[in-house]
Amino acid sequence: MFARLRGDFPILDERVGESPLSYLDSGATSQKPQCVIDTFTEYYAQRNAAVHRGAHTLAVRATDAFEGGRAAVAGLVGGAPEQVCWTKNATEALNIVALGIDRASHGFGGEAAKRFAIGEGDSIVVTEMEHHANLVPWQQLAASTGASLRWLPVTEAGELDLSELDSIVDETTKVLAFTHVSNVLGTVNPVDTLVARARAVGSAVVLDACQSVPHMPVDFVDLDVDFAAFSAHKALGPTGLGVLWGKPELLDALPPVLTGGSMITTVTMENTEFMPAPQRFEAGTQPVAEVAAFATAVGYLVEVGLENVYAHERELAEVLLDGIAEIPGIRVLGSAEQRIGTVAFDVEGVHAHDVGQYLDSQGVAVRVGHHCAQPLHRRFGVTASTRASTYLYNNVEDCQRFLAALAEVRPFFGVGEQAS
């Protein structure tokens, strides 16, 4: 099945100089199947109109596409369509939660929002492996409210160090925000353990699901998280679209940050009543074509089956890890058993940028740098790393081409001759 569906992704036929393309940067953004690309043309050619207004036929078609996208996403990650709020990206989704709590802490949102209010003496807990998008908004919230920011450290194996979990997440903790899967290490975190601790102390749980939803079966209802965020573009969908998922009673109580058109019930010169979720978080014109295209992407993922995607990528991860282990001078960051097909590593004596440049000359696309996770890199004693990340369209040949090119990196830069 996976050999066949590679043909659905036209960009994989592109060539880089004289080499065929091996795209191993899906952790940054995924490539799109032809059906997703076609949805844009079809939407603008046959369905385009303003949603949630107008009595004409096109408006109905556009609204159906927009709301149908919500239903598709709810089918993928659990819950009702109303629990799916569209955002610009996952970063915005996480900011909506952090800033909503900030507003509640400053008296906005009335009685209903008081459940979110935090201040001095309270704590917010994150982890050392967060993407900056799930760290900086919480730093800002702590600074704005006087709450303290704590974090769960990361072990040498690239897993969360939970030995002090009970003292780090304690009765003062009001928010526990963590990533489901590390965007650098590929580690899958134990959501159940963390949620159980949060429940024991009455903390809200915010899950960054950017690297899990595209690569494995995820059900936010089963995981019992309060809020979750992910982006469309990492899951075969378009850029410019993210998802904020939440429990209905929490979404309806959280004060909105972006206000204006399309999210109100009654407006007077003095006052405004907001709509319930999801519309209360969707001020202004929405990315309707992107939603339509993402619905196609979700349909594609469901047809392939996320459990199959996960198994396929686990096989590729083994090929990558086994192959890297045979190349001298490469240190893989982390060694978690529970992981997806994302592998970050340091090449001794060669900077990640130079590694990436060399791999590109061989047609292999990887990510280099700090991957928006500077504290995690500091934890491993490096400022930058190289990351290979797989997706459903990759095959063993991609991994082998990557490994062959990687083996040439240190010789090219003239380091480690004695060792080899």
Partner: protein, 159 residues
């Protein structure tokens, strides 16, 4: 190996990236002459450099730096230090101007080796838009630090 890679990673660049000239402890306030300091970071990759300039009595500029980054950025700082050792302030400003122009030429400009010396080896870098910042990082720090050193000298004169 593709020709583009050979153009990018000239032997001069690889050599400088391994044995780095000017990569030494900063003196800070212990510097004898008027001096300036600059810390530059490339936020997209985390590469960084701390660079110090000190105006010497013979009209040259002593350059000291420490940094962490790719071969292009480290080699560029090394070449810069080497050039400073053989040049005056005016000469370095001329080199800086030409190097800046060369880096933004997208490979269309011929490097003047008479002026640029080893820095001419970076011509190939201008064809890689993602790497131009790497080559310029130390030069941005140098210009900033030099400005400060010159201001410090003026203040000393008027004191």
């Amino acid at each position: 190996m593709s020709t583009q890679m050979q153009q990018l990673y000239q032997q001069v660049i690889l050599d400088h990236s391994r044995s780095r000239i000017g990569n030494s402890a900063l003196l800070g306030e212990n510097a004898a002459g008027p001096h300036g300091y600059s810390h530059q970071v490339n936020p997209t990759c985390g590469d960084e450099i701390e660079l110090e300039t000190e105006l010497l009595e013979d009209g040259r500029i002593a350059v000291r730096w420490s940094g962490d980054g790719c071969s292009i950025s480290m080699a560029s700082a090394s070449v810069l230090s080497e050039l400073a050792d053989d040049s005056t302030i005016e000469g370095m400003l001329k080199i800086e101007g030409q190097f800046h122009e060369l880096m933004h030429s997208r490979g269309t400009m011929e490097a003047d080796e008479e002026v640029l010396g080893d820095a001419a080896a970076f011509t190939g870098v201008s064809k890689f838009p993602a790497r131009i910042k790497c080559a310029l990082l130390s030069w941005v720090a140098f210009k900033d630090a030099l400005n400060q050193a010159q201001t410090a000298r003026e203040e000393k004169r008027h004191a």
